[in-house]
Amino acid sequence: MSLLVWIEQTNNQPIASCWEVLGKGRQLATDLGTTLTALVIGAETTAIVQTAQSYGVDQVLVATDPALAQYRLRAYSTILKQAIEHSGSTVVLTSATTRGRELSAAVAYALRAGLAPDASDLRIDAGRLVAVRAVYSGNILTDVTFNTDIQVASVRPRSFAMPTASAATGTVQALDVTIDEAALGEKVIATQTTDSGEVNLTDAHIIVSGGRGVANDPAKGFALVADLATTLGAAMGASRAAVDAGYIPYKHQVGQTGKTVRADLYIAVGISGAIQHLAGMGGSKLIVAINKDREAPIFGRAHYGIIGDLFEVLPALTAEFKKRLG
């Protein structure tokens, strides 16, 4: 028996949230009394395998092939199934990234295994996995219990702390993979890296978000939001109202029909705080609101507030942070 965690990579770089899952996997494997297996798939795997070994694994399974350079569902799901069988894994975890959610689901469906997508907490109860999920867009929590021998979950980024690296452990074993290019049915014909230098919203420790309060001069308003975000090394978010008004692209939207975020610090600038937005950012630890309107609902959820015009407050705040953070 084993507990298996897929370590996702893109362009030979590991996806950071997978280490959070691997760290939690160490604890769950101990609770289950099983070994911990990491699976690494790609064209270049050596560096990622070494990092995986620093997080307390018992074994790393590796599938290395030039044809695996880019994620393709049929190739990756075949290898994940092979790894589950090889390691005798009963609990299978991925990060709930776009690919992690898809791959975990495809394998669960194929194996008729129970699946908990986008889980926010995990525990072992009577030898089986129990996952906690936020449903109804964050308004209801439920435990997901499993009736199947194999239990699969994808884990929402930032649900668990980043583990501390220690001396390398575990064996490394290459899986014997054969890739039938014709059977894959898809090929990636172009890739484009966007947002280089930008911090990903769902992984962000700090988020600065802008809303309709920028309406008088949206371009300048979001430039000021971006200045503060850059100063703090933060990701930039937005309310739906700001996205719908065309001030900023959809990828920045936080809320029920946007991204769900759990920052350590969330600074809402000129955001009134519609319930859909509050549902998307309410899991953040410390919330700061800057708004002209003292009656704005955001002040009902924030820990600190400044009542004032964002066009005056943001430059002062950014300057003060620059001074203090050096």
């Binding site: 893109t10 569902l73 776009t98 690919r99 959610r101 689901a105 495809a106 469906y109 295994a113 129970g114 699946l115 997508p117 986008d118 999920r133 449903v135 109804y136 867009s137 308004n139 209801i140 929590l141 439920t142 435990d143 997901v144 219990t145 499993f146 009736n147 199947t148 049915g185 898809e186 090929k187 990636v188 014909i189 890739t191 484009q192 890296t193 947002d195 990903n200 700090i206 959809y250 990828k251 029920q256 350590d264 610090l265 319930i275 859909q276 630890k285 410390l286 919330i287 609101a289 009902g300 820990h303 600190y304 507030g305 009542i307 004032g308 407050v313 002062a316 705040l317 003060e320 942070f321």
Partner: protein, 259 residues
């Protein structure tokens, strides 16, 4: 070319905070029900495929009798036909059964080239039903698609968003495609569309008629509850000048050790 769009009826997002644990437990949600907002993008894309490639379009929903309203919304937008699949006996979180039923409903339509779905539902938030449908049907799967570039020679070329980038993928048909919000701007139903939709006959089929027997689910939801309401006491930063307020806030945030 035949395009099927999968739709779900969900509570209006503005009413989700009012949904109680007891309502979720019983399945009787007391809220205004609408077409799942993410699915409107899938319906719109199906209509655009009809415009571009002369596709025949059909909407399928698994739901209660009231879900015909979501299907009528799609018909009013311009989808060609609709079928409701009766969801009695299907439990919340029974992801495999939901996917198996929808896959069987698609299969019953004969040769289907593309199945479109929204990114996730605003109630179950699982975002995996389309993965199960593709797995069950043995179709290719493309998720998080933001642009269907071309369909020709039994292949689709599409752009999809993934963490940190975007990729252009060539994929053989038939395929299940989940779409993201960037793909289009869903149209509002026209007056004529609404009239036509109201007159439309929407057949209902049961999972049994599709040849399925409902078995034991792989997972279940237990301990359904409302999240703890975190008591927050706001501290409004006072000060004579903006500069003074900014300094005080920076002091507090540095003391919180979150930066």
């Amino acid at each position: 070319m035949k395009v099927v769009v999968l739709l779900k009826q969900t509570p209006d997002t503005a009413e989700l905070p009012k949904v109680s644990a007891a309502e979720v437990q019983s399945g009787a949600i007391n809220a205004t029900m609408v077409i799942n907002p993410w699915d409107e993008f899938a319906a719109e894309e199906a209509i655009l495929l009809e415009d571009r490639f002369g596709a025949e379009t059909l909407a399928i929903s698994l739901g209660a009798a009231s879900a015909v309203d979501a299907l009528k919304h799609a018909l009013a937008m311009g989808i060609g036909a609709a079928i409701l699949v009766d969801n009695r006996g299907v439990q919340d979180g029974d992801l495999w059964t939901v996917a198996a039923i929808l896959a069987a409903a698609v299969k019953a339509q004969g040769a289907v080239d593309i199945v479109l779905a929204g990114k996730q539902s605003v109630d179950d938030n699982s975002g995996v039903t389309f993965v199960g449908v593709a797995t069950e049907l043995g179709y290719q799967l493309l998720t998080n698609v933001v642009k269907i570039v071309e369909i020709a020679d039994g292949k689709v070329i599409a752009e999809r968003l993934v963490e940190g980038g975007q990729e252009t993928v060539e994929c053989r048909l038939p395929a299940v495609i989940s779409v993201s919000k960037e793909i289009n701007d869903p149209r509002y139903p026209s007056f004529m569309g609404i009239r036509k939709a109201n007159k439309a006959q929407i057949p209902t089929v049961t999972p049994q008629e599709l040849g399925l027997t409902l078995g034991q689910p792989q997972t279940q939801w237990t301990n359904i509850r409302k999240p703890e309401v975190r008591q927050t006491q706001i501290q409004i930063i006072e000060g004579a000048t903006v500069q003074e307020k900014a300094t005080k806030l920076v002091d507090l945030l540095l003391a919180e050790k979150v930066i």
